[in-house]
């Protein structure tokens, strides 16, 4: 027998006594005996999994059992065991607001109960959690690589309303990773294709399509009805736009991005957490970080990252677990390593800091240097560019032209202009002596961006006659040689 001191709020369950006796050789046994004698105590001391609640502290004499042997701490008749409350609480967090505490939760139909049964039997979800999911509204920016797994898993999981923003058309080159779309969908609008796929998956979900390019003009209005934003964009201007709009509207942003074998994920834009700008206040110079279209991406990688974004979204809605707030996850799929960086909210952040300088959406293409602030005088210099058709005519005429392909070797393996020589853009400076400054040189890449840089470089080192192939090899295939594959 040992004596257990009972705190004020639990005394109604011990016939108003502030101390009761119980028997047992350890704290665990003692408490088990206590709850046998006073059954009303049990739900307040233990959670549904039979573990002591986090705010219940048990002391043996003056020592917290967490620092002894926890529930295995031995007790004798001379010991005094005290149950001491930690009193905790707080204002609703974003999670609570998202998780529908302030919204009436819809009931589940019998069909839904059957469909979500594997959720309903989980303590972290349960009927209540599933109703929160049904009440939730999530906006997915993009129906591409990341948007596909995000939209499919959130739909399968029973998120009530799923908005999708996209304006693109399904292309063959999407199918390697964008599993929302199938071969027969090529040429269709991504949203039409996505909606069909998602409704087949789960007709209970209201799929709302926004067929538009997200912009500074429409973003705040688009975000307004939603609880969580999922960033599935593939370029910097849109990424900054989504970040800023999420901070300005107070909606958390389940962020993800992918490149080749590397992915990143985090949760930005919560009230007390950092945002994308706390990490990267300024975008990289244009062209420095290649996009997936330029650098490629492993097809399954958006599957990994998108599923992390979907998981974080569901956790925010349920209000369970530890969200990826203030943590930046880096996934290296080639080595299969997951690294985590700690992120802090930057008090000087221009958007979410204490004195924000960005209080409305700006021109993000200009911010990211994609488009100059003032339109540059248009100097379509015919002497620096050549079209596919002109090139073909000149080659047929027998003009002596040196064609330099500045793409990467693996791109060169897919298609090429006959007679071209491969010098990847990064190698041009060190291999420049392989070229004759007196030759007339045509440089090309996939669409004309990288080759414009190569042309500028060659001119800067004294090459007089350098022409950039307008539209790159894609235009060449379209206009001159449709037998070659495109990528």
């Amino acid at each position: 027998m040992a004596k257990i001191l009972i705190p004020t709020p639990l005394r109604p369950y011990t016939d108003k006594q502030d101390a009761v006796d119980a028997s047992g050789a350890t704290v665990g046994e003692l408490l088990a005996d206590l709850t046998r004698r006073h059954a009303g105590l049990k739900p307040h001391l233990y959670n549904e999994q039979g573990k002591l609640r986090s705010f219940v502290n048990v002391y043996v004499n003056d020592e917290d059992i967490r620092y002894l042997q926890k529930e295995q701490t031995p007790v004798t008749a001379d010991d005094t065991v005290s149950i001491i409350p930690s009193v905790a609480g707080g204002a609703p967090t974003v999670t609570d607001v998202v998780s529908g505490v302030s919204r009436t939760l819809p009931e589940l139909t019998n069909d839904e109960i059957k469909r979500y049964s594997r959720h309903l039997i989980m303590p972290e979800v349960g009927v209540e959690g599933q109703r929160k999911l049904k009440a939730a509204k999530v906006l997915c920016i993009g129906a591409g690589g990341l948007g596909s797994p995000v939209a499919m898993y959130l739909t399968a999981a029973g998120v009530g309303t799923l908005g999708i923003v996209d304006f693109d058309v399904v292309d063959f080159s999407n199918l390697q990773r964008q599993i929302l779309h199938g071969t027969p969908d090529v040429g269709r609008s991504k949203l039409a294709s996505a909606k069909d796929r998602l409704q087949a998956l789960n007709p209970n979900v209201d799929v709302v399509t926004h067929e538009t390019a997200i912009s500074s003009e429409n973003a705040l209005k688009l975000f307004e009805p939603y609880d969580v934003i999922v960033d599935g964009t593939d370029n910097f201007p849109t990424r900054y736009l989504v970040n800023d709009a999420s901070v300005l509207t107070g909606k958390p942003n389940a962020y993800g991005s992918i490149f080749r074998f590397e992915g990143q994920a985090s949760v930005f834009g919560t009230k007390d957490g950092p945002c994308y700008r706390c990490l990267y206040p300024e975008p990289p110079p244009p062209g420095l970080v290649p996009s997936c279209a330029e650098g490629g991406v492993l097809g399954v990688l958006p599957g990994i990252i998108g599923v992390i974004q979907a998981t974080e979204t569901i956790k925010l809605i349920l209000g369970v677990g530890e969200p990826l707030i203030g943590r930046f996850l880096i996934v290296d799929a080639l080595r299969m390593r997951f690294r985590e960086l700690k992120l802090r909210k930057d008090p000087d952040c221009p958007v979410c800091g204490t004195h924000p300088t960005v209080t409305q959406l700006i021109d993000y293409e200009q911010f990211c240097g994609v488009r100059p602030a003032a339109p540059e005088p248009i100097t379509v210099n015919s002497a620096t560019e050549i079209t596919s058709v002109e090139l073909k005519q000149r080659l047929d005429r027998g003009d002596k032209l040196k064609i330099v392909d500045v793409r990467e070797p693996n791109e060169y393996q897919i298609n090429r202009i006959p007679g071209s020589e491969l010098i990847p853009l990064g190698d041009v400076p060190k291999r420049v002596n392989e070229l004759n400054p007196d030759d007339e040189i045509v440089v090309h890449c996939k669409t004309g961006g990288r080759s414009a840089k190569a042309a500028d470089f060659l001119r800067s080192v004294g090459f007089k006659r350098v022409l950039n192939l307008k539209g790159g090899i894609l235009d060449w295939i379209d206009k001159v040689d449709p037998t070659q594959p495109k990528y």
Partner: protein, 158 residues
């Protein structure tokens, strides 16, 4: 537990809670409610020891809880519950409040909007822990003989 519960607070107690909420804004304040039966006569301000960011959370440590209970006994009263503030949020309990609530205690929440204390409400945990039910918060006369001492400060983290 009876459905309609009520808590009576004196003008001094109400003033003390509001002042404490404004003082700690934009962080949360917390403290203990001491009195007898359904009448709160005194509040004991407690340090907010949360490590999760005091803008959204409060935590009263076991040692401070013990002291509050002892204080209540010394004053010839009992510990009736706790109060805390919701900076820039309505005075409604959050899921977190519910998850961490103790039975029988009265939980007073004061909303502090832009630094000014506003709505004040009182809540009791339902016996099955499923939700809170709102009680009625009534105002009584200042019955405490030394009304100026209605707030007992406990400072520091000791």
């Amino acid at each position: 537990m009876a459905a309609d519960r009520r808590l009576i607070i004196t003008g001094d107690v109400e003033h003390a809670i509001r002042a404490h909420g404004q003082e700690t804004y934009p962080h949360e304040c917390c403290g203990a409610l001491v009195g007898k039966g359904e009448i709160v006569t005194t509040v004991v301000a407690l340090p907010n020891t949360t490590e999760e960011g005091p803008r959204r959370r409060f935590l009263v440590r076991p040692s401070d809880y013990r002291q509050a209970e002892r204080r209540a006994t010394e004053m010839g009263g009992e510990l009736l519950g706790f109060y805390h503030s919701h900076p820039d949020h309505p005075s409604r309990p959050s899921q977190y409040d519910l998850d961490h609530a103790w039975p029988t205690f009265a939980y007073i929440i004061v909303s502090v909007m832009n630094g000014a204390a506003g709505d004040m409400t009182v809540w009791y945990l339902k016996n099955d822990r499923s939700s809170f039910e709102e009680g009625s918060l009534d105002h009584g006369e200042n019955s405490h003989p030394h009304s100026t001492q209605a707030v007992h400060r406990q400072t520091g983290r000791g």
